[in-house]
């Protein structure tokens, strides 16, 4: 027996019953493409949320006073005089996994420029703040170390503040505005960042040297918080440990006494937020899994029915001299050809559908290689197995039994 003949026979069988071939392929196409699309939507939204968060700086670490202490009287954390200049200096010196660190103090008030004014919050920080929060200076420059040391009355502002206080034609650099009656010179304007994923306008911001805010506005020596950047995302936990060690030492907290400070990393925020999207991905994966199962069962059914319906044909082929292995190989080749081409078309449709979802509905999609591979593999395996198995059963009959089969 020339085995090329079997390819020829299989191809003939596929081409001579186009409807059956089409229906079989349809099962594969729907199974594969729906799974790919679902997973692409799930992954897409998860990624987009992650991206938005990491825009804010995913390796950020925030240190606040711990509100739980102070003998049962709950106080605003900002009023607790826990974080001192020495803490900041020690953290800056002693923590190898921190790449940037700034104290933070803030004060709310009214900004006034002539007849224009806007309510705002002024943040007292140092130069590292730019790095930590991923801001860039667009015009002018950021205030210098020298400004920090001399409590200089200078500010860097965001574009929303610029629009609130100045005409379009006016260059804000060098202009003097007032914050709670204190004249402040604008030295720089930040590049616009737009809104963050929680809808906050990140351009409505006024930054001043922390020393200035402490001494001239708040008249206090402690910080409301200290914000730092870990050397990279993976080092966040190490950085948190280092910070904790330094602060416990400085604050003389020993043994199992409760910390008077609270350290939070952006990573935690990321994981809370992504857990929601994780749930959605799980949900979509379940739907995809069910589609895969239904697709597989559909493939099984059509293959089973079409092979069973072809028992007579199998009997005829055997009656004119086909051996069991010829029948099995023929059906295996047919099943492979149909399953693989159906699977490939399914992949194509899945990619197309994902693209259309993105294009028409504007949903973020992300196609992962493994989802394509998985759905393709499951469907083609189902197709091949259920194309081959019933044929094997039929090929084991006596020819006359198969021919008589109704």
């Amino acid at each position: 027996m020339n085995y090329w003949n079997l390819f020829y026979i299989a191809l003939r069988a596929i081409l001579s019953n186009k409807m059956r071939t089409f229906l079989t392929m349809l099962g594969m196409i729907i199974g594969v493409s729906s799974v790919i699309t679902m997973l692409a939507i799930g992954q897409g939204s998860k990624r987009s949320i992650r991206e938005q968060i990491s825009e804010m700086g995913s390796n950020m670490v925030m240190i606040h006073p711990n509100r739980g202490r102070m003998g049962g009287v709950r106080m605003s954390s900002a009023d607790m005089q826990v974080l001192k200049a020495k803490d900041f200096e020690d953290l800056q010196k002693e923590c190898p996994h921190i790449s940037a660190i700034t104290p933070q103090v803030s004060s709310s008030g009214q900004l006034i420029n002539g007849i224009k004014n806007a309510p705002t919050t002024v943040y007292g920080v140092n130069e590292d703040y730019l790095n930590i929060r991923r801001y860039k200076v667009d015009k002018g420059s950021f205030f210098s170390d020298e400004h920090v040391k001399t409590y200089a009355k200078v500010a860097v502002i965001g574009t929303t503040v610029v629009n609130n206080l100045f005409d379009e034609e006016t260059d804000p650099i060098g202009k003097v505005i007032r914050f709670n009656k204190i004249p402040v010179t604008i030295v720089g304007v930040l590049e616009s960042k737009g809104s963050n994923s929680m809808g906050q306008d990140q351009d409505d911001i006024v930054l001043m040297p922390y020393t200035t805010v402490q001494k001239r506005i708040l008249a206090q020596t402690h910080f409301q918080s200290i914000v730092a950047s870990a050397t990279n995302e993976k080092d966040t936990e190490l950085a948190v440990e280092e910070i904790s060690a330094v602060l416990r030492r400085n604050h003389q907290i020993t043994g199992d006494k409760e910390d008077d400070f609270d350290i939070r990393s952006q990573e935690e925020l990321v994981s809370t937020l992504t857990s929601t999207t994780d749930m959605m991905t799980v949900l979509l994966a379940c739907i995809a899994g069910i589609s895969l199962l239904v697709g597989g069962i559909g493939i099984m059914n059509i293959m089973f029915v079409s092979v069973t319906e072809r028992t007579k044909e199998i009997g005829l082929r055997m009656s004119i001299g086909a051996k069991e292995k010829h029948i099995m190989l023929q059906f295996l080749i047919e099943a492979i050809m149909i399953s693989i081409s159906g699977g490939l078309i399914g992949v194509l449709f899945g990619l197309l559908a994902s693209y259309l979802v993105n294009f028409l509905a504007g949903w973020p999609v992300y196609i992962q290689g493994w989802s394509v591979l998985l759905s393709f593999a499951v469907c083609t395996t189902a197709g091949i197995f259920f194309g081959w198995y019933p044929a094997r059963k039929a090929a084991r009959l006596d020819p006359i039994e198969a021919i008589r089969y109704e």
Partner: protein
């Protein structure tokens, strides 16, 4: 005559188990058929004709008895060897044609050769064409089987049975689905094949048709009740000429 024995069966039995009941379709059948014979196996419906022919065609296995085909004992053959025998030595013709639908006459006829490793593509097409010419379908080679009349389909089936140049042709009620006129055309074709030297076993329930062969084996309830030779078989072609021509 120093004729060679093509088929030799001895005390063949075949039982079918239907629920608790055993159906004795063949109850010990023995005969031998020489090369060049044209044998009619006759009997009423249910007498065991098909069961016998299926066993002779290696499509079914007997419950008991011996079967020598072209000198080889079929009982000792493996499944694959029987498949090879069906492919090389036997041409089987079914009452219901059993052609592949949506497939041309030529491809249907060439099918047995696809399972024969010693025939290449050119030979395959050449031989299939010749077989179709032999059965009078030279102008229908590329027609689909399901677009043909019953008589034409049976001719395709006969061509398919001839294409491997078998030692014996087995036909089970080959004219059973056809009108009188077409039946005689097919019968005449079998007589021509017989004339050219083919060995033929022709199964029918119609006593009239037994007059056209050289030997008649009568079957009843799975047993042979008579086995007679006919020295002057009628000519199907002549009978056909005498039939009123209603095609006009």
């Amino acid at each position: 005559m120093a004729n060679k024995s093509i088929i030799d069966i001895n005390n063949l039995t075949r039982n079918f188990q239907v629920g608790d009941e055993t159906v004795h379709a063949l109850r010990g059948v023995s005969f031998s058929i020489q090369e060049g014979e044209f044998v009619t196996i006759m009997g009423t419906s249910g007498s065991g004709k098909s069961t016998l022919l299926n066993i002779l065609g290696c499509l079914d296995t007997p419950t008991g008895g011996n079967y020598l085909l072209d000198g080889e004992s079929v009982g000792n053959m493996s499944k694959d060897q029987r498949a090879e025998y069906r492919n090389r030595k036997i041409g089987f013709i079914f009452q219901s044609y059993n052609l592949l639908s949506r497939t041309t006459a030529l491809d249907n006829v060439a099918l047995p050769l696809l399972y024969n490793g010693f025939v290449n593509k050119a030979q395959r097409i050449e031989r299939a064409k010749q077989a179709l010419i032999d059965v009078g379908l030279s102008n229908r080679m590329y027609h689909f089987s399901n677009q043909m009349s019953g008589g034409q389909q049976q001719r395709v089936a006969i061509a398919r049975a001839l294409v491997n140049n078998p030692v014996i042709i087995l036909a089970d009620e080959a004219t059973g689905n056809l009108d009188t006129r077409t039946s005689f055309e097919i019968l005449s074709l079998f007589q021509d094949l017989h004339q050219s030297g083919k060995t033929i076993i022709f199964v029918t329930h119609n006593p009239e048709l037994s007059q056209y062969s050289s030997r008649t084996i009568l079957l009843r309830d799975g047993k042979i009740i008579s086995d007679t030779y006919n020295s002057h078989p009628l000519s199907a072609a002549e009978t056909l000429a005498k039939l009123p021509n209603i095609d006009l």
